[in-house]
């Protein structure tokens, strides 16, 4: 059984927001609601400067705090490790929003459901890539099976020594190259 994960190579990210907008379109989100957030980190002094753009979304944590705090079990982890939300069970209490280390959850103002990145589970089920991955203009995102050592994502993690954004906050399924 696959265990899905992703690599984001921030050395390639040009901060174009294509991932954000394609995700919004895929999920038919209101314009104010987005599953991907961007952080900028500027280092150095003119003219020796470096700028890093770090896209952050649900990290699909192994022991996801949002899952353990959810009072109605609306947030759950599939056997393949994708953290999903059952819209019918969500009561909009926002406990998961508070518990999430990454600020990755957002409430749909129309339905009250607290949603987040779902690794585009329905596309993955069809053998396709999540929308953010397939549209990434610099190929900074790689998605696949973390348990398959021959998958592109697993090889990239080893080759580039990719690390979770905050290893101190538990195991995540998105790995960053920085």
């Amino acid at each position: 059984m696959a265990r899905y994960g992703m690599v984001i190579d921030t050395r390639k990210c040009v901060g174009c927001y294509a991932c954000r907008v394609s995700c919004q379109m895929q999920n038919e989100l209101p314009v104010e609601e987005s599953y991907i957030k961007f952080y900028e980190k500027e280092t150095g002094v003119f003219p020796n400067v470096k700028n890093e753009i770090i896209p952050v979304q649900c990290q699909h944590c192994e022991d996801a705090p949002c899952v353990s705090v959810c009072p109605t079990k609306a947030t759950y982890t599939t056997k393949e490790g994708i953290v999903l939300v059952d819209a019918d069970k969500c009561i909009g209490c926002k406990y998961c929003m508070v518990a999430c280390h990454y600020g990755a959850r957002t409430q749909d103002h129309n339905t009250g459901v607290v949603e987040k990145c779902r690794f585009c589970a329905e596309l993955v089920a069809e053998g396709k890539q999540p929308a953010c991955v397939s549209t990434c203009i610099s190929n900074a995102r790689i998605f696949g099976d973390l348990d398959d050592p021959n998958s592109e994502v697993s090889k990239a993690i080893v080759k580039m020594n990719a690390q979770p954004l905050r290893p101190d906050l538990g195991k995540a399924k998105i790995y960053y190259v920085r």
């Binding site: 696959a2 921030t10 050395r11 390639k12 990210c13 040009v14 901060g15 174009c16 927001y17 294509a18 954000r20 907008v21 394609s22 919004q24 379109m25 895929q26 999920n27 038919e28 314009v31 104010e32 987005s34 961007f38 500027e42 150095g44 002094v45 003119f46 003219p47 400067v49 470096k50 700028n51 890093e52 753009i53 079990k73 609306a74 759950y76 982890t77 599939t78 056997k79 393949e80 994708i82 999903l84 059952d86 819209a87 019918d88 069970k89 589970a121 329905e122 596309l123 993955v124 089920a125 069809e126 929308a131 397939s134 549209t135 990434c136 203009i137 610099s138 190929n139 900074a140």
Partner: protein, 731 residues
């Protein structure tokens, strides 16, 4: 067309299945997806290939249409610009089809910014009457047409204005690539080459950012060049967003790119790193050029550009060693680093630098692309308009300018002089985007007839006497587009959804019907489908096949690397010495030209550039794109911390920005990513049309500060020749 069935929201709504599945607690992903598809089974998704309209690139895309409504887009895998990807603009701009601010019926102005709806018949009749009256009284040369060209426009617009007897067809390039086009045209015979980025070993960008003015395939190529160990140097007064992919940033003093290129050329020749074989076989005037270049030493350039002489020497030497897999990329928006008084000369110097490297038609170098052969209308059955008798306005003043695009702002100049009486603007917001809006607006208000064809009430439309509502690009078929490149091909923009507003029309219909009303309908006696069938005939591809695929490439017609075609310059070769320049009164050999204005200790040069989410003013009213601006304060101006500190300005402060033309209030982004002498303003904000509710009032328009001016060579708008002062004010 592939049909799939997917709907996430549909799935959530049809939630009986979800509830059952979720109640099991942790469920398997396969189970989940099976139920998902079951619940969404009623939503049939049609996939329709077409081309994008969010910027001038026109990438291939696939529209996913659910229940007759455009759901989402993906990049067309076969199109050479998209290669399966789309940028944020591409994804988001498509929502324009459902915009609340769309024009829905023809309008006639009945007062200042007051319009009444009229029928198409009345619009055609009145516009035709006025056009014919103006032509009778002042001659056809008093009428002009300007557009930001797309496939149909490129065919129909010049044909329409020529049918009226006027040669005055113009494009938006006056504030884009006019300078580069002129410099390249008279040096290598084409207005642009293309860069073989993925095979290059050393790539220099001057003022061009693949990550901001995006063609997805270019960024993919650059990322793979980086993976392959290529050196990537960005020359820009600001560290643009392509910086992450670069190996080095040269923070050049704005307006001095020409000095850098001249000095690097000097080094190549001095160090004997130029390609003598190429120069002998394919160029003219090298001796005179080499002689002139002797004075442009790296030390000289250091004083002008602020880039250390040893860095200039090192980079030029390394590029010489990497030749022919080394190049300066051809850029686009106002070569290079935008529109300065010396930009045409910079374009020329760059084309010559690439010739020194012998990189033309070489792997990893600059490529002259092949064009597909498309059919033409039978002239007996479908007569073409006669060649207009009077040449295009502006061609006398700017004989070096690329004639096909022309100098669009000459229309405004002649309107102010009382010579230009009527103007049609199609898919063009000239009033806001073509240099100083105050002047542009005054010019438009001086004319007897202004017609705007658009999908929304742009500033230009507000000033028009008649506004004709077009369908969006999601609702129309267009003329087939030929794609030139290493491998030529064709692409089609086709309709994805039914017309949303019944009283809107596609441009080919508008021109055809208006031509009839003007009495020149004989030049439009064919349908779009007939035209496309004719164009396709020599390719052996059927219209049906093209509709199914959207983009079709011709790999059999791939150009041969190493074989330089006969160039379209007067000598047929690369011209280090240009008789054309001489005849036009310019120096035949490239030379250093000072920028027109320079900042003092207490002022800044104002520079602008694209952001990844906006193109021209057309995207500013798209909520899904403008929300990104709002979320990340992207409308702020950039200022260097040293200068900010001296002025008592902190990040996020409100400042006043004052130039000779205007005063604006805006918040600042204090960043090390900008040259201390420059203020960067992202484009394109400052929408002043209240009918565009999303874009209205966000940020300010860069052009407000730009004096109405023409660069001497290409006629290009000198939009970077602006000095400003900045002071902190209360927000």
């Amino acid at each position: 067309m592939v049909e799939t069935k997917l709907s996430r929201r549909g799935f959530i709504k049809a939630s009986a299945a979800t509830a059952a599945l979720a109640s099991a607690g942790t469920v398997g992903f396969n189970e989940w997806s099976k139920n998902y598809v079951k619940a969404g089974a009623n939503a049939v998704v049609k996939e329709i290939p077409s081309t994008c309209n969010a910027c001038s690139s026109k990438c291939g895309m696939i529209g996913h249409v659910k229940n007759g409504r455009l759901w989402k887009l993906t990049g067309h895998p076969d199109h050479p610009y998209s290669k399966g990807k789309l940028c944020a603009r591409g994804h988001g701009y498509a929502t324009v089809v459902y915009s609340k601010d769309r024009l829905t019926q023809p309008l006639k102005r009945i007062g200042e910014k007051k319009f009444e709806p009229i029928s198409w018949e009345q619009a055609y009749r009145e516009i035709a009457e006025k056009l014919n009256k103006i032509i009778k009284a002042h001659g056809p040369q008093s009428v002009a047409l300007t557009e930001d060209p797309r496939a149909s426009g490129k065919f129909y617009s010049p044909r329409f204005i020529n049918a009226l007897g006027s040669a005055n067809y113009y494009t938006h390039h006056v504030v884009c690539s006019n300078a580069r086009d002129a410099g390249f045209l008279h040096t290598v015979g084409v207005t642009a080459t293309s860069a073989d980025i993925s095979n290059a070993k050393y790539i220099m960008f001057i003022g061009r950012s693949y990550g901001d003015g995006i063609r997805p395939s270019s960024v993919q190529s650059l990322a793979s060049a980086k993976d392959n160990g290529a050196k990537i140097v960005i020359v820009d007064p600001r560290l643009n967003n392509t910086g992450n992919l670069a190996t080095e940033w040269l923070a050049i003093r704005p307006g001095t790119d020409l000095a850098l290129v001249l000095a690097m050329s000097h080094v190549l020749i001095k160090e004997n790193l130029h390609d003598m074989e190429f120069i002998k076989n394919f160029t003219v005037g090298f001796e005179e050029y080499a002689q002139e270049l002797k004075k442009y030493t790296p030390e000289w350039a250091e004083g002008i550009t602020g880039i250390p002489a040893d860095a200039i020497t090192r980079i030029a030497t390394d590029m010489g060693k990497a030749k022919p897999k080394a190049l300066i990329e051809q850029s686009w928006r106002g070569a290079f680093g935008c529109n300065y008084e010396n930009s045409t000369e910079t374009g020329r110097a760059v084309a010559m630098f690439n010739a020194l490297l012998g990189n033309y038609q070489q792997k990893g170098g600059s490529i002259f692309g092949g064009k597909p052969t498309l059919g033409k209308l039978d002239k007996a059955k479908h007569p073409s308009p006669k060649e207009p008798e009077v040449p295009k306005a502006g061609s006398k003043e700017f004989p070096i300018a690329y004639p096909e695009n022309g100098v669009a702002t000459i229309v405004a100049k002649e309107a102010l002089e009382g010579k230009m009486k009527a103007a049609i603007y199609y898919h063009s917001n000239a009033a806001l985007g073509y240099g100083n809006p105050k002047v542009m607006k005054e010019a438009l208000s001086k004319m007897d007839l202004v017609v705007a064809i658009d999908v929304q009430m742009s500033e230009t439309a507000q000033l028009a006497h008649y506004v004709l509502p077009e369908v969006t690009y999601i609702e129309r078929d267009e003329v087939i587009e030929g794609l030139s490149g290493k491998v030529p091909g064709i692409a089609l923009r086709q309709q994805m959804v039914d017309k949303v507003h019944p009283e809107t029309k596609p441009i080919h219909e508008i021109y055809t019907e208006l031509a009839k009303a003007c009495g020149v309908g004989q030049y439009f006696n064919f349908t779009l489908d007939e035209l496309n069938e004719t164009m396709l005939a020599p390719t052996g591809i059927t219209y049906k096949q093209l509709r199914e695929k959207g983009t079709i490439m011709f790999p059999n017609e791939e150009i041969t690397i190493g074989e330089l075609p006969k160039l379209k310059t007067p000598s047929g070769k690369v011209e280090f010495y240009s008789e054309t320049y001489k005849a036009a009164g310019f120096k035949p050999i490239v030379e250093w030209i000072e920028p027109k204005v320079s900042p003092a200790d207490d002022s800044f040069r104002l520079i602008t550039g694209k952001q990844a989410i906006h193109s021209h003013t057309q995207t500013a009213n798209i909520p899904i794109l403008m929300q990104i601006t709002k979320d990340y304060d992207l409308e702020r101006i950039w200022i260097n911390p040293v200068r900010a500190k001296a002025l008592g300005i902190k990040d996020g402060d409100m400042v006043e920005l004052k130039s000779s033309e205007a005063t604006s209030k805006i918040r600042v982004k204090v960043t090390e990513r900008i040259h201390p002498e420059a203020i960067f303003v992202p484009s394109h904000y400052g929408i002043t049309s209240k009918d565009l509710k999303t874009g209205y009032g966000v940020g300010f328009g860069y052009m407000e500060h730009v004096p109405f001016d023409f660069e001497k060579w290409s006629g290009s708008g000198n939009i970077h020749e602006v000095i400003v002062k900045v002071r902190k004010v209360n927000g």
